[in-house]
Symmetry: C2
Subunit: 595 residues, 2 copies
């Protein structure tokens, strides 16, 4: 199947006189999760992970993905004729290096200029130029020409995200943005990332699974704010609420408006990592361009007091649902018949009972035993297995509530854990606790903290391949920049007060089991340590749910770590108890007993 598609693509490549074609895993908005119509790399390669770029030449093909997807990609690319390149491993060539070896001077590499960011395309072009290979924009995506039953535009209506959840009216957000635009002498700012647009205009929609965003572009000038989105998404109510604040146009009117804007030769602010190359190609001939990260990125990442209150409230409800789920799980597994898929569905049921619940914030990762070792495993009908009262079970799930987004991982023992499992769970927990307890000076970047969570595993010669934490939106995307706690993302981005981030170290024993413990944490001022000369920050953990004490080898934890852990469980008990009763309440009390 995949082999046939690749062969058809090669025929189109020949027609277009290009020697390679690149199929990226993103869309015109640089989305991580895509609407089906733009899942071109998935359709043509069969690899279903969220990150992975495909390069096809006349006689070879390669796919580059990161460690989250190494195992999954190996399985899904079997017999596809596509080589897997594992990003970050020693001696693995980059896509650019591979292209340089496969092609010769004078060759052309085709791309769809809408699905590569301007910044990425610049780097790629510069690299290929060293080898006298050129980048060629091909207007109509070649995959689209092959994909006969390609789905159409999703048509979910846009809803307003009220100030009681957003915490700030659109006008105020626009004012802050325009101040930054003035600081940079720019009169136009282009926004293309969907969560930035949703944040700025206080809107939400359902165009993309898990991400409550609307497919749209936005242009903000010093006088006007314009949104470009399919008109069938706009209800009367939304139109009247946005009236006088945001002008609404059709999605396809965007390029025309870009042309019109060019006529006055303004200075336009573009985020090089967000806008696609096509936009730059349209504006460059007429406008002066400033390439710099959009101020909206940082505005959105720093949650206001209303958003933080919502986040905490949502986490009480999510904790109640998760506690009910874990209690149910403990009783259901020995009865038999429960599977990875059925437990994922059950957790969603418990969440649906909670006020303000909207939808899952990502596809639940329910990984029993060896499936837990596949970092982003998503159970399907083909892979689904029954849970038995033995082994360990990794469960990573989250929800979108109107007042906040959650993302939590718990790893639980379904039987009696082995000594090795207990040691490794405890080392992961130790890293998790150490990070949660860290106190650090202002201007510290997230990447400076990544090793803290990793070190208890390094101490015994082990490691995990993913970052330790990602930013998270407020009833928005579960992955959000610019900050991260990672060795490879968010480098040099200081953690600011009000940023929300995950704390999720793990350990994965390939073919055997996986462990991950994930809570969300918020950067807050450390009042005890802060002085006028030197401001200190610390984290506040907001996720509320018991951590399985049966997997803990207490002798590996320090007194301070045990104290922190027991205090966390005390808080969980205190905040969740009022919302639980009967058996579940009794289970919570037992599960959060001091160790």
């Amino acid at each position: 199947m995949t082999r046939q598609k690749i062969e058809s693509l090669r025929a189109l490549m020949k027609k277009n006189n290009i020697q390679a074609y690149l199929v990226f895993s993103t869309d015109p908005h640089q989305s991580e999760y895509l609407p089906q119509m733009w899942e071109r790399r998935k359709w043509i390669s069969g690899f279903t992970g969220s990150a992975g770029d495909l390069a096809v030449t006349a006689d070879d093909a390669g796919l580059w993905t990161d460690s989250r997807y190494f195992l999954q990609a190996e399985q899904e690319l079997q017999n596809s004729g596509i080589r897997l390149f594992k990003i970050g491993l020693p001696d693995v060539p980059t896509l650019q290096e591979w292209l340089a070896k496969k092609l010769k001077a004078g060759d052309s590499v085709g791309i769809d200029p809408k699905v590569i960011s301007y910044g990425e395309s610049q780097k790629l072009e510069a690299h290929l130029k060293e080898w006298k290979i050129s980048l060629k924009s091909i207007e109509t995506n070649l995959v689209d020409q092959l994909w006969e039953d390609r789905p159409g535009f999703p048509g979910a209506p846009i809803t307003l995200h009220p100030v009681k959840y957003a915490g700030e009216p659109i006008e105020s957000k626009l004012e802050r943005l325009r101040e930054k635009m003035r600081d940079e002498n720019t009169s136009v700012h282009i926004l293309t990332t969907l969560d930035s647009i949703a944040w700025l205009f206080n809107i939400r929609s359902r165009d993309i699974e898990f991400n409550p965003v609307a497919i749209a572009y936005a242009i903000i000038t010093n006088k006007k704010a314009m949104m470009f989105t399919p008109m069938n998404k706009i209800t009367k109510e939304v139109r009247s609420q946005l009236d006088g604040i945001v002008d609404i146009f059709g999605y396809d009117d965007f390029e025309e408006e870009l042309q019109r804007i060019g006529e006055t030769s303004p200075k336009v602010w573009l985020d090089p990592n967000a806008v696609n190359r096509r936009i730059v190609d349209l504006l460059r001939p007429k406008c002066e361009l400033l390439f710099k990260q959009s101020p909206v990125i940082l505005f959105k990442a720093i949650k206001n007091e209303v958003e933080l209150a919502g986040l905490k409230s949502a986490h009480i409800r999510d904790g109640v649902a998760m506690t009910k789920f874990l209690h149910w799980l403990e009783n259901a597994v020995p009865r038999g018949g429960e599977t990875e898929l059925s437990t994922a569905a059950k957790a969603e049921e418990f969440r649906k009972e909670q006020p303000l619940y909207q939808m899952p914030s990502f596809a639940t990762i329910a990984g029993y035993n060896e499936h837990g070792a596949i970092v982003h495993y998503e159970p399907s009908e083909e892979t689904n297995v029954e849970l038995k009262p033995e082994g360990i079970f990794l469960f990573d799930s989250g929800a979108q509530y109107l007042d906040g987004t959650t993302d939590i991982t718990r790893t639980v023992a379904l039987g009696t854990p082995t000594a090795e499992q207990k040691e490794l769970f405890t080392r992961v927990l130790k890293g998790h606790i150490q990070l949660a307890m860290t106190r650090f000076p202002r201007t510290t970047a997230g990447n400076q903290l990544d090793t803290i969570a990793r070190k208890p595993l390094w101490d015994v010669g082990l490691n995990y391949g993913h970052g330790t934490g990602h930013g998270i939106g407020s009833y928005l995307n579960v992955h959000e920049g610019p900050h991260a706690i990672s060795f490879y993302r968010g480098i040099g981005v200081p953690l600011e007060e009000g940023m929300v981030i995950s704390n999720e170290p793990g350990y994965y024993k390939s073919g055997d089991y996986g462990i991950r413990i994930e809570n969300l944490i918020v950067t807050v001022e450390d009042r005890e340590f802060s002085s006028p000369d030197s401001e200190f920050y610390k984290f506040e953990t907001v996720t509320l749910c018991p951590i399985d004490t049966r997997l803990i080898e207490k002798s590996l934890l320090s007194e301070i770590e045990i104290g922190f852990f027991n205090e966390y469980h005390r808080t969980v008990r205190e905040l969740l108890s009022p919302h639980l009763e009967g058996d579940v309440l009794a289970w919570l009390h037992k599960a959060t007993e001091a160790i």
Copy 2:
């Protein structure tokens, strides 16, 4: 004095029709330490630190330096009319941002294209362009036009660095370099950094204080290796030894050769962070250019077995000298009359007694009490103070031996330390030990380890402003890239087997005292943890000298840390004892007793 010089510079700026002029702290070779003739920023501003760029406009002037020099720059710039900008502190504008605010569209900023790297000039130019400000190359440095008694070219002879210390003949180094050149399809490589040239050609000289390098340029083609250096530096012996391997030309012939090379339009490999803008301006019209870090940087950083054996041997000799010094210091201070300068001289005396000693590897930092809080304090006749049998004394020194370079800091109590001093010394030591003990997976970059040394201070709301470790040469520069253990340098550069780096956390209480503990460490394979799937590394400490146990608050150290510390002292005692006798030997035994 400084005010007058700046006014004269402004007159020249007017003549040259530029609205600002930049005086960088480097030279045509991007050196950190400069020969006097190129210390233009120091001459005109009065600021003597090794890092700091000066910008002068018609009515204002600013100097940007990093935290190592905050206190020193404050003192030296008093009444100079030059504002101090502290890099890295919140809300401090960058030099570019400041220029953008001070100047207006259409203005020009003058630079000497020889004393800015191509990479830096590109960034600066792009930034200024956003504000319609242009960068203007001025061939004759404006400071040189004012500096009447500017020193001339240093004329130290070049000596050969024999293979018994270098571990690899020139031919083999050239072969490895040419292989990399072929991999990149380049036939010419330009080297301009002095330590890279010294490493490649196995030569040393004394043109720069502390750095045993020769002022030179080099051009390596697939067939020839050319060195450009003042002819009076070349002895008959050197000429005959290099004959047939390296062709020697005058320093001033370099630009002419660049022109000649252009005639065949080769593809030339340039390191954008090393070559100056002038070189690129000369080559660009005729050649295809590859901008990429020189392979020599990594070759030089990864020490071979001969260099590592030399390093260890040099550290025994250096440890002997330091032990004699510390023993002497303990007795000399109570006798009275010793000062920061006299102790620095005494340490050098002890080192001079050692075989293969050449010179200090940097200016000794001997900081008594509050002087210790100035991170790069260098005592002078004006600041020199007498040491009394009270307070604490920070002593950071190092030496060049033919077989290796050393860099060591010890902080010692001259009287009875306070509880606060003991706590903070112990926290610095704790960070130092934690880093020395770290075991980490291959591909880990130095920046991932910086926080490990910092955390014991963060835990009580404190920090230090500098990085934790720098690379170090082999009878070469005491500061060497590409690796570092730092939050701001060497980001993403993996630590490789054979890299040497310093481990030097500190704590500085402004106006009171400073603490720093520095040993050199080498990255080695961690055989216990390495498997075919996952290679692990660890550090081996090579510096051998007692750490003052009177400053240790033992209750703050874990059992493991105490064990590591005692084992370190046991090694120091074992390796140094055979070279000491009498009182000094007895002192060493006492100083290295288990705590």
